[in-house]
Structures are given as C-alpha cells and as structure tokens.
C-alpha cells in the first residue's frame, strides 16, 4: 500500500537529498521550479518556495510553532510499541532502517502529538514526520493517534490531524494495516464526544493513511498543491494505460471533486484553522 515508489519516490528522493545537503551549502533549490533559496528565507516562509509557492515538507516542530497560539504547547509522551514485531528483513533489516531514520531525524518514529490552544480553543494536534520512512503508518503511529484522540476527549479539545504520508508501513505488514481500523476507531470517539476533528492535508497523503482517519474529518483543509489520493499515480497509469494530467490528485483537484473543503497557502493556515475552530467550538 505504500505507493511511494510508484509516483512519489523520485520526488521524495530529491527532497531528501536536497534537505540533507542544506547545512553545507545553506542554499536550497525548490524541488519544483529549481529556484535557489537561502535556507533562512525559506524557513521564514514556512518552507514555501518564494517564487512558485511550492510547499516543501515543514518539520513537525515548525508546524506546532506556527499553529499553536504564541508557539506554546505541550508535547505528549507517546506509548512504546513492540519494535519490529515481524522481525522483518528485505534487502535491509527493518530494525536497521529504524535506527538509521532515528539517527537522521532525531525522532522516535513518524509522528508527534502536542496540545495547547489554537485561536484560543483547546486543541490537540498530531502531525506526521514525512522524513521518517516517508511518514508511513505502523504500530507506533497508530498508537499515537489513538492516544491523541483520547487526550482530545479528556481535555474536551478539538483534534487536528496533519498527515504527510505515503501510506501504511510495509515492514509491519498486517499490524500496520490494522492501524487503519484503530485510527478510524479513535477518531470515532472524538466524533461521539461532539468535538471537532479537522484534517490538514500536507503533501503527500496517500494509501492507507488517506483511506482511514485522514478522509474522515469534519472539515478538510489542504495545503496548496498537496498530493492526496489512494493509489499512486503510476499504478493508475499502468491500469488505465493513459497518462494522467499533472493536476490529478492535487489538493485543488480534490476540492473540485468534493473531497476537500478549503485549499490554503501555508501562510494562511493558522488563521483559517483558528477561525474554523472558533466557530465549531462556540459552545464548548
């Protein structure tokens, strides 16, 4: 289900290599238009290309800083799970992949959870770290979403999801597929408590992530140009034996198809989210 390899992999690879190259040269070329940007400038623009508006991956910490009021929030300590439950090995051991990504990203897995206020409203946000194995959803990620939902209910808070993921994590096979069920179940609890659940689609949201909790928001906000879909573009092209237009599976396309409410530029995201939450939380 991780469709990354099909359509996204070449793009991801450039994103990765470019990001890793940064500290040395301090200049970063936009993966879309190639414009060279000074890293600090790019950061000041929330990682949006100053020329073509391409939205690069934004680190989870920067997400939290930009969305929570006054950049004030409490990070949630996440539950541990069984590591490498299947003892999975392809060309490489999954255990080794995990430690490799932990070294690069300095994080435990592909998700972080925090709570605080957005537009004055109690809010719990869980955000994916796309740089950790393509933001793929395994047991750790699923468990974190279950916890985020529980905290939202306990704190009478809104729940906000920010997926950026290629889908389920193959190396955990059926245990990761089960997270599609578990995360859906988790957000049902938020729904049953009458609390808002908002999804902010970041680039990309694919496969088992889009086909579970991510497509079940009360309100769907997507960042400009974000790829959102179930099957990868290349897989579809192979099935129908036709080339698909470049706008296929973009946020704008999904809005046209009725799957997304609002498409925003990242600079307007905080205000949009705060406004939405203020209205939906008016009686909390």
């Amino acid at each position: 289900m991780n469709w990354l390899n099909s359509v996204l992999r070449p793009k991801i690879k450039t994103m990765f290599s470019k990001i890793k190259d940064v500290p040395e040269n301090m200049w970063l070329p936009c993966p879309k238009c190639g414009t060279l940007m000074y890293r600090k400038d790019l950061h000041n623009h929330l990682n949006v290309c100053t020329k073509c508006d391409y939205h690069l991956f934004l680190q989870v910490e920067d997400r939290f800083d930009s969305l929570f009021d006054n950049a004030k929030y409490t990070k949630v300590e996440l539950n541990s799970v069984k590591e490498d439950p299947l003892n999975f090995k392809d060309l490489k051991k999954y255990k080794d992949r995990l430690s490799q990504y932990r070294n690069i990203t300095k994080t435990q897995d592909a998700i972080e959870v925090a709570y605080g206020k957005v537009g004055g409203q109690e809010t719990v946000i869980f955000a994916f770290n796309f740089e950790f194995m393509g933001g793929s959803m395994g047991t750790f990620v699923g468990e974190a979403i279950v916890k985020a939902a529980e905290i939202a209910v306990k704190r009478n808070a809104a729940l906000v999801a920010i997926p950026a993921s290629g889908g389920a994590r193959m190396q955990e096979s059926m245990l990761s597929l089960m997270q599609m069920a578990r995360t859906t179940m988790a957000i049902n609890k938020v729904r049953d408590a009458g609390l808002p659940y908002i999804v902010i689609f970041a680039n990309p949201t694919m496969g088992g992530v889009s086909a579970s909790f991510a497509m079940l928001g009360d309100i769907h906000i997507a960042e400009k140009g974000a790829l959102i879909g179930f099957a990868g573009k290349r897989v579809i092209e192979q099935t129908i034996k036709q080339k698909l237009p470049p706008e296929f599976q973009t946020a704008e396309y999904l809005k046209e198809q009725g799957m997304v409410d609002i498409v925003v530029h990242r600079k307007d995201l905080k205000e949009t989210l705060a406004n939405v939450l203020t209205i939906l939380m008016h009686n909390k």
Binding site: M1, N2, L4, N5, N79, S80, V81, K82, P85, L86, F88, K89, D90, L91, T139, G142, E143, V146, A168, M170, Q171, E172, S173, M174, L175, S176, L177, M178, Q179, M180, A181, R182, T184, M185, N188, G207, G208, S210, A211, S212, F213, A214, M215, L216, I228, G229, F230, A231, G232, V235, I236, T239, I240, Q242, L244, F248, Q249, Q257, G258, M259
Partner: protein, 309 residues
Amino acid sequence: MIYLDFEKDIKELDAKIKEIQDEKKPDSKKIKKLSDKRDEELSKLYSNLSSWNRVQVARHPERPHAIDYINGMIDGFIELSGDRMFADDNAIIGGIGYLNSTPVMIIGQEKGHDTETRLKHNFGMSKPEGYRKAIRLMDLANKFKLPVIFLVDTAGAFPGADAEARGQAQAIASSIQKCFDLDVPSICVIIGEGGSGGAIAIAVANTVMMLENSVYSVISPEGCASILWRSQDHKEDATKALKMTSHDLLELGIIDNIIEEPVGGAQRDKEQTIANVKDAISTELKKLLKSPKQAKEKRIEKFTKMTRL
C-alpha cells in the same frame, strides 16, 4: 481442474487414474490404489505448503467465490443493489436472507469465474460505489437489527482514475468507520485474498476468520518485492516476510480463528469448504447473539487492544 505449479505429481497421478477409468474394462483395484496414493501425496503436499504456495491457492480461479458461499449458505437470499448515489458496483455484492433460520445481511467481494463474470465483477476490485453500497447495506442492517456477515476476496481496491475521482480513499475510510458503528454483531471471513485497504474496508468485525489457505496482507507480495527488493522475482521472499498466511495471522492476534479446508485446498471440494465456512459462521453467530447489545462495545475493545504491547 487447474493444477498449480507445485502439483505436478498430483496432475500425473490424476491423468493416470483418468486413463484407466477410460479403459473399456477399468481395473477398479488399480484405480483405488492410485487414488489412495494421490490422496496421500495431496495430503502430504498440502500439510507442508510454503507461504507463496498458499498465495497461489488463495488465488486459485476454481476456489469457491462469494456468490458460491451465498448460494450455499443463505436461504431465501435477496440481492440488493446500488449505492443510491452513482452506480451498482458488482465487485461487492450483498443482500438479505437466512443463515439457518436467522435473518442476516451478507456482503461479499466477488471476483467472477470466467471472462464474462470477471468483467462484470471487475475482478473483485471495488470502486467507491462498491464500498458505498456496503455502507448502505450496513445502515440497513443496523436499522433492522440484522447481524452482518462479510466475505473478503479481493486483490485490492480498484486503482483507476475514475475510482480516485469519486473518492476511493474516502469510501474505504467511511466503510471502516461504518463497520465500527454497527450496533449488531458482525463476522468476517477471508475466503481468498485479503488485499490491503480494499479488504479491511469490510474486515472490521467482532469475529474475523480466515480459510486455511487464504491470505491477508497490507500489500501484494509482488508489490512489496518490487518496492523493497526492487524486483518481482523476490515475491516469495516478500510473501514470507509479510507473514500473510492464516497461521501467521492467528499467531499475531490479527484474526480469531482458522477454518479448515478440505485436503488439497478449497478448489478440490467446494461443497465441503462452503459447509465448513457455514459451520464456523453459525457457531460464532450463536455466541455473538447471546449478547448482541454488547457487539459494538466488544468490537471496539478488541481493536483497541490489537497490536498493543
């Protein structure tokens, strides 16, 4: 009979038996001897299948499919069609009827068995309207207090541009959500292939069982091999690593039960297989119907604990 590549010896024995049977005066002693030998070989072969062999058996075109189970298990079946929004997707079929004397809702993925029916059922690969039909039928089941039986058999949800345009991801997600929202007991049987998101859309149930030689996985072995091994030649390695057989998944606590298949696989004795599945579903349903009001809560409890330390 279509023989799989690992069944060469069986094929030869069957051919020999046929040859003798076709003689003017068939030697019944010889036939008996060869048949016994064949049965013994088959039993040996099938008690020692590799994971990849099981994938082959799970995909065997002569395995009983959803329609066979419905015809064989359900009395007075009334098929219901359409999602009331766009179309009737025959990759998922469903309707009402009686299991023994209990009224039930049954929803299954149907692959078809020849060119015409395969096209009609889109090879068992649903589009959003298929999942939305399933959702509609689950709503009916909820309203009229009918326990729901799911039969899973799909390579995956249909990866097409039209399916994406109509919200494949949203349809699958909503179907999973509806499975949790069922107030009535639910039972799922993986009868062949459980292909990823396309399968789990209707595989969240109080009791999830697998036929012995069925498989259930997050990705096809071929897909996994081409991504992680960079070549489909490694599909057997991928199958093993993915732990997708019924025995693997029972051990991992993903499924509740394994339903035995006749010697030589479901394709060799459809009737017996269907009877076994009917028995297993009836037994589980009886248990669940002792406290139907707790079904929803129990289902949530089960999936909350699943995959936890």
